[in-house]
């Protein structure tokens, strides 16, 4: 593993640790402080991870918007899992938050067509049940997911 790859792994672990410990997506400066590294090194790592689609940055920024499935919130997709409240950018990610935490959880959203409340219980093994016949609509073919990730 190259020095850059090893450092990027340390940065990813710091992000993951911050999410678990603090219940939210960290800012770049927090990651640098947690690692005891200077901002420029962590900034460069963030740039590499953005290029590799490891996370979605805020628009015109290198700060994390979504370390998928975790998003800075609030959004239309609220998840309660592992004793905390989380936010996701989409239905796929919302269902993935309990999986990433290794816990059960509940997804609260609304039908994008009619606004009817949708509540989905997700077990640790990934099985799910909902209060309605909930479905996930994917509006962009897979090959085009990253053409405009904010729309996807």
């Amino acid at each position: 593993m190259s020095d850059e790859a090893a450092f990027d792994q340390r940065v990813r672990v710091a992000i993951a640790t911050a999410i678990r410990a603090r219940g939210g997506v960290p800012r770049l400066a927090e990651v640098a402080a947690d690692l005891g590294s200077d901002l420029s090194a962590v900034s460069a790592s963030f740039d590499r991870m953005i290029a590799a689609h490891v996370f979605i940055p805020e628009r015109d920024s290198r700060e994390i918007y979504a370390y998928d499935p975790f998003c800075v919130g609030p959004t239309d997709f609220r998840v309660r899992s592992d004793g905390r409240e989380w936010w996701a950018i989409c239905g796929w990610d919302a269902l993935g938050i309990p999986a990433a935490l290794g816990a059960a959880g509940t997804v609260d959203a609304a039908c994008a067509d009619c606004g009817h409340a949708i509540s989905i219980a997700v077990d640790r093994d990934g099985s799910a049940t909902a209060n309605v016949t909930a479905v996930l609509n994917v509006g962009v073919p897979a090959a085009e997911f990253w053409k405009d990730i904010y729309f996807t």
């Binding site: 993935g96 999986a99 989905i120 309605v132 994917v138 509006g139």
Partner: protein, 70 residues
């Protein structure tokens, strides 16, 4: 990638906006999300390769044309 209360609502919403659409059952979506993200916070996490992703999509019975990565 939005949630709807039924396939009918999803199809209508997509048609009104002229969007492509593939509708996953809740079981397909939950299994996809679990497989996709279960290791995201692990120290040894890495992105799925295209082949791994394609195999996952196929195992879930997803539309091979819509879910083709390349």
């Amino acid at each position: 990638m939005r949630l709807f209360r039924s396939e009918e609502h999803a199809r209508r919403w997509s048609k009104e906006r002229g969007l492509a659409s593939d509708v996953l059952t809740l079981d397909q979506a939950a299994r996809l999300a679990h497989a996709w993200y279960q290791s995201k916070l692990a120290a040894d996490w890495r992105r799925h390769t295209a082949d791994e992703a394609q195999a996952l999509f196929a195992s879930l019975g997803l539309d091979p044309d819509f879910w083709r990565l390349r």
